[in-house]
Symmetry: D2
Subunit: 315 residues, 4 copies
Amino acid sequence: MFVTANEHAGKAVGEVHRNLYGLTDLRFVKAPEEFESLSVLDCVFLALPHGQALEIAPRLPTGVKVVDLSGDFRLNDADEFREHYGREHTAVELQREFVYGLTEFNREEVKNARLVSNPGCFATATLLGLGPLAASGALKGRVVVDAKTGSSGSGAKPAANTHHPQRSNSFYAYKPFTHQHLPEIEQALRGVGAGGRWSSELVFMTHSLPVSRGIFASIYAELNEELTAEQLKEMYADFYRGSFFVRLVSGSPDINWVKMTNFCDIGFAARGRQVAVFSALDNLVKGASGQAVQNMNLMFGLEERTGLLLVGGNP
Amino acid sequence: MFVTANEHAGKAVGEVHRNLYGLTDLRFVKAPEEFESLSVLDCVFLALPHGQALEIAPRLPTGVKVVDLSGDFRLNDADEFREHYGREHTAVELQREFVYGLTEFNREEVKNARLVSNPGCFATATLLGLGPLAASGALKGRVVVDAKTGSSGSGAKPAANTHHPQRSNSFYAYKPFTHQHLPEIEQALRGVGAGGRWSSELVFMTHSLPVSRGIFASIYAELNEELTAEQLKEMYADFYRGSFFVRLVSGSPDINWVKMTNFCDIGFAARGRQVAVFSALDNLVKGASGQAVQNMNLMFGLEERTGLLLVGGNP
Amino acid sequence: MFVTANEHAGKAVGEVHRNLYGLTDLRFVKAPEEFESLSVLDCVFLALPHGQALEIAPRLPTGVKVVDLSGDFRLNDADEFREHYGREHTAVELQREFVYGLTEFNREEVKNARLVSNPGCFATATLLGLGPLAASGALKGRVVVDAKTGSSGSGAKPAANTHHPQRSNSFYAYKPFTHQHLPEIEQALRGVGAGGRWSSELVFMTHSLPVSRGIFASIYAELNEELTAEQLKEMYADFYRGSFFVRLVSGSPDINWVKMTNFCDIGFAARGRQVAVFSALDNLVKGASGQAVQNMNLMFGLEERTGLLLVGGNP
Amino acid sequence: MFVTANEHAGKAVGEVHRNLYGLTDLRFVKAPEEFESLSVLDCVFLALPHGQALEIAPRLPTGVKVVDLSGDFRLNDADEFREHYGREHTAVELQREFVYGLTEFNREEVKNARLVSNPGCFATATLLGLGPLAASGALKGRVVVDAKTGSSGSGAKPAANTHHPQRSNSFYAYKPFTHQHLPEIEQALRGVGAGGRWSSELVFMTHSLPVSRGIFASIYAELNEELTAEQLKEMYADFYRGSFFVRLVSGSPDINWVKMTNFCDIGFAARGRQVAVFSALDNLVKGASGQAVQNMNLMFGLEERTGLLLVGGNP
């Protein structure tokens, strides 16, 4: 087992991520230059800036399973990829082998996958909150998703939008209508459940919360017929039967109850044919690393929860 | 001039609100028992729990001007009042004399008013953000308003939802579809501009932000025809010409730039016929006391900005 | 196994502490009225307002081991108890059987104890940071401890000092020179190591941080002779050999790296004979429940870390 | 009047500092290349990275008054300057003309000054809190100053220590014993009051608070004789008579009550001969720009409070 980070090569993991001090003897190493020797590995997690997995994945030995956390292999359509990521997709063939690792939608496919593309954090929150309705064919008119994220979603590198004097106590919208998670959301909605029932217009808006972790999506939909919040909850309970990490709650979820965990909490409200679904998760766990481990567990025949029974709360 | 607060009677204002220490010699006094002697006053601000102004306003000498910050005199319809405030409206006659003090909508009426009902904080943010579109007749289909507020909106009394260990780092929805500001918003939208052009369904949802101050409303609307963000901005500039406290910004507003001020910042985004309008204000200033002073200025023929040229920022 | 909470009796634990939803089927029950039937239990944790354990502990069956998290059984001196807790100590005999459960100071005594009194959160941070110096006899002159705590230290009940609009972004001192943890700190310092070497005056000051969790103590001491930060670290490494939950760090600790964990991180600085020791922990874990479990583990011959290998970080 | 900022040259001030949008038509211009034409100015504020005022101040026309907010002209001793700022002092002659602009210590000197060196933020908080005791000659033994600052003290440029995911909810010490404000504090203490009474060792420690603004200094001193908190307050009231911006409070100050203002709030606690003095201010106002304006007011014979009657509070 090894973990790479060129900028930290040689340093102990616990020295860089000081919460891990004393919990691991791992040290960061440089990324390997040639990849043949990696055939001894069972699994590789790629957590790289967008574009780098495109270069690396095709060079990995074919016996190695891969979970890629970037956006490089999420989109089936090369044109959409070019439009949203600003580069050519140079591994179109390999992309077709990737399973979209939203575990709760694609559990069986993930079990049999060699290559898994881990969903984006906003996509996970939106899809888990909207999927059962999209699969039901009960939607009418456009769906509005008002999504909010904590600052850790912006990555580890300091920038103007994560400068503490600016970000603390702030709230604002960003990338209106154009967030790069939008196409993977629409692609997944078209395929959810039996597939083919999603035909709504999706209005997707991202905002910045003054917290470190957490995504909260407020999803507004109009239905063909009236449903109560309780009926919605039952519909979702059916859909998520056997999905430990989706918790259906009474009232609204709160990002504080899912932080540091792999849970996605979902709540409901309804007034006539207008419904609201709220989903909350930790962008770094269910929205990234936790879901990656969840997928790995399935890919290797392990119990899905292995290593993921984490207790959250507001620290 | 005097300021009442029964629980603090006898204490210096600067002892209770310690930011004011050294800036005023005022002391809190008990609320008067009989009101005839108040005829020496020019103006009374009522900032009381809902229901109390209902009792007091009818007893005030008729020569005194009143700005009421509660919800008691905002709704023209006594049935709606009963439904949302859970009590009978016991001063229906007097209510008809009240002008709804959203200054930017009703500036001329406020100038001539003796009685002004100051809008709710959510209502102010929503109406300033949605009013020009509602007046334009350009809307099609339902409008979704996803509104978020800081904790000071819950009042000065400690409660479970403002308990710091719970509230800090949190985000959640509350009072889904049922917030008591909804009827005053719909009432004002029906009357804005020439009036009568608003006929959309309004989906209104309130959320709690882990900050002390600030309201941010994300307003999602569909138009009859495509408009760019720039064209929207021009439409709003026309509507708000002469309204110093509405600032039209490029991109998204941020609650940090309006805190401690009487400004409401409004920004725009558009994709085809889908548009988003963002409005941000300080719930305690433009959403309450600042707007009350703004209205008082007009009621007494003073310059609208008197006492309100405040510089905000992120403290 | 059962968990009591009179105000929540009948409710699921996961309904009250929503981070635990889905992780346990436990429900809160009423506290038992008679205690003889409790003899089937191995261990009781008492986490009650100060004064209640005084009533309950003497009535528990003598075969049951007890960890009390309140201040009721921490002080050996009944006069000091009266002075700081404002009530008579009504179980002086039983108190003598209690071991002070600062695990790292009293590991062997805890292993053999039936009754353990879990230290206060401030006391834990201060004692772990100051103990090795106190035991060394190297101190000269008074010691100043400037301690800061998050809001969760004030308990679950909303109050003025935890009202979010007041507490967020705030910083202030409270209970100057008089915090009730002071006597247990002084008592433990007199006994640490070989005992009897502590004779310094202790200046102890508590402050409120605008975070939910975390205690940070800055300890200022003057030594008989110069020591570098590195030499201090070595002295502490000797003292804490075998103590997994004390991590000696380079530079300053940060409350973010210990939150949600049972670690206490300690760092050092020195200039001539002036030294500073910094200690950081999570007041709810190492400062309360985590240390209680750590003590229970020892009392039952379990590995000290059982159930406590928690990964922290800033959520 | 003009304001320079090379990186923002051409932009409106209200576009860069969006809280000022609508309040000023000023635009940033490039810094002038030659300075002779500046003789038309009355006053120049220099707010530059350390080292740049050293180059500029000697080139300014001698008729122009100057307030420098950097550390370049605060230290009388060129050796200390070299040690703490890592560069030669290249304007030693000019430095002798500078008055140290801690207004409350040097009001008369400032009135007559052409050149004023504005104190550092930590220095202001520490000196205002410690000055009266230092002047009294009542101190015995070392003084410990435990100071904490918000993130805006680190400047406008994003950096690791102001990266929001790291800084939010954090607390840690930094630059232990070595902060560059230490020498200006000691220099000012030696001269305060009649001068010459300060002979204590000063232990000075800086910490990072997870707020944007605010400095809080906890000052621990031992006295020659016992004084109550009330007696301390009287001593300070004498010292600060006529100093509007120092507010002596009961109990502890709170950074929330001074934010966005030019006030420094000071509180007291005592136990026998041990005393604690707490001072709180806004590092960007009384700790920087506000004090600069306060000094300018005096330098031009204006009322000291002109432009500085700001109402603070927790936004």
